[in-house]
């Protein structure tokens, strides 16, 4: 059964991409067809470690309203319905703010004069290619752009999924993260044993639980002061998939753009046990849900 695994975190810089790239590489080495999706579109950096040959470049767009002032009757309905302040209705004109628009289409629906049409607006681009046998795709949001979910959506629908699809999610707990992880079979929350790491993990756990997603935690840079983090996971009945020790050699390999599992054989073993723990959890969930549908 194909697996779609999101690597997410609350806090930034905990090691999402490091884990995601290493997992993609090791799953691929097992002979499985792997897709790696870099959904961290504001700062995609998975390519540094997977070193793909990017062969396809395409623009990603979102829809914005275009007002035909010849037809507009200046009723103000579009401005009132818009929840994002993307339309300003003045007595004799309508001003649009494309960067505020979420492309919900409500303005189109309420316009009684059929004065609104939707036109595409470029917000970023999608690059695709191969990293060895891994299907690699990444989104890149244009500078100054804030509307990343439509780009993430386009990226996810464009790339061909593998037996294993690794979704490298952006940090945080807001819309871009939700867009990245919502349809995944499993979420790996990468955290670090610091007060910030724990605080943001708590928020991330709330998000995945609200989305009813199966998940586990990887404690990266373990060995600093892990107990509060582990206590939280025990209290909340959260599976700790792996504790990757804080190790200068990891930082050195990372800074050279190397995959940790290749540079450090002892870490390769740790990644294998992480993969095994993850697959057991995913399989358990799949069995449970099939029992529920076929009692």
């Amino acid at each position: 059964m194909p697996m779609k695994i999101a690597i997410a975190s609350g806090k930034g810089g905990t090691g999402k991409t490091t884990i995601a790239a290493n997992l993609a590489h090791l799953f691929s080495q097992q002979g499985r067809k792997v897709t790696y999706l870099d959904c961290d579109v504001e700062a995609p950096n998975g390519h540094i470690f997977l070193k793909p040959q990017l062969t396809e470049h395409s623009p990603a767009t979102t829809l914005i309203p275009q007002i035909d002032l010849g037809r507009c009757i200046h009723c103000g309905k579009c401005g009132r319905i818009c929840q994002f302040n993307a339309l300003l209705c003045l007595p004799e004109k309508v001003v649009t703010f494309p960067e505020m628009c979420h492309a919900c289409g409500a303005c189109l629906l309420v316009c009684p004069a059929e004065a609104i049409t939707e036109i595409p607006r470029e917000i970023g681009s999608i690059d695709q290619g191969m990293a060895g046998s891994i299907i690699f795709a990444r989104g890149l949001l244009n500078i100054g752009e804030v509307m990343s979910p439509p780009l993430i959506r386009a990226l996810k629908s464009k790339a061909e999924e593998g037996e294993v699809t690794i979704v490298d999610a952006p940090p945080g707990t807001s819309c871009p993260v939700i867009e990245s992880i919502r349809d995944c079979d499993y979420v790996v929350l990468v955290t670090e044993p610091t007060p910030f790491g724990l605080n943001d993990l708590e928020l991330a756990v709330e998000v995945v639980r609200a989305l009813d997603l199966s998940f586990g935690v990887v404690v990266n840079r373990a060995g600093l002061n892990d107990q509060p983090m582990l206590d939280f996971c025990t209290e909340q009945n959260i599976l700790v998939l792996a504790q990757l020790p804080d190790d200068r050699r990891v930082a050195e390999a990372y800074s050279r753009g190397q995959l940790i599992c290749e540079a450090l054989p002892d870490f390769k073993a740790r990644f294998f046990s992480l993969m095994a723990a993850m697959e057991t959890a995913i399989l358990g969930r799949q069995i449970k849900s099939s029992e529920r549908s076929n009692p």
Partner: protein, 119 residues
Amino acid sequence: MKIAITAQNPSPENQVDPHFGRAAWLMIYDQEKNEWESIDNSAGVNAARGAGIQAAQKVVDHKAEALITGAIGPNAFKSLSAAGVKIYHGATGTVEDALQAYLEGQLREATTNDAKGGV
């Protein structure tokens, strides 16, 4: 003519709010009637984004032809300029002080270059 002034509280004796989009209140002064009207802008204070556009809509809906505030952002500037509202920034002190300063020609009219937001 009507003049809009951003305020921290709904009274002309109170301080000018240095923000436009996220000002707590908009005070509208009607020159002909010599009357004040106060408009709650808490929606703007709490808006995630687009506060300036929302506040501009209020200024336009109340038919004010000039706005006096501390500082103005790019979207608010674009909105008010499109509506033909003149924007005067750098106002301080009470709302009445700001109105006086405007009437005496002491306030500068904002240009695109000033509309960077922030205070």
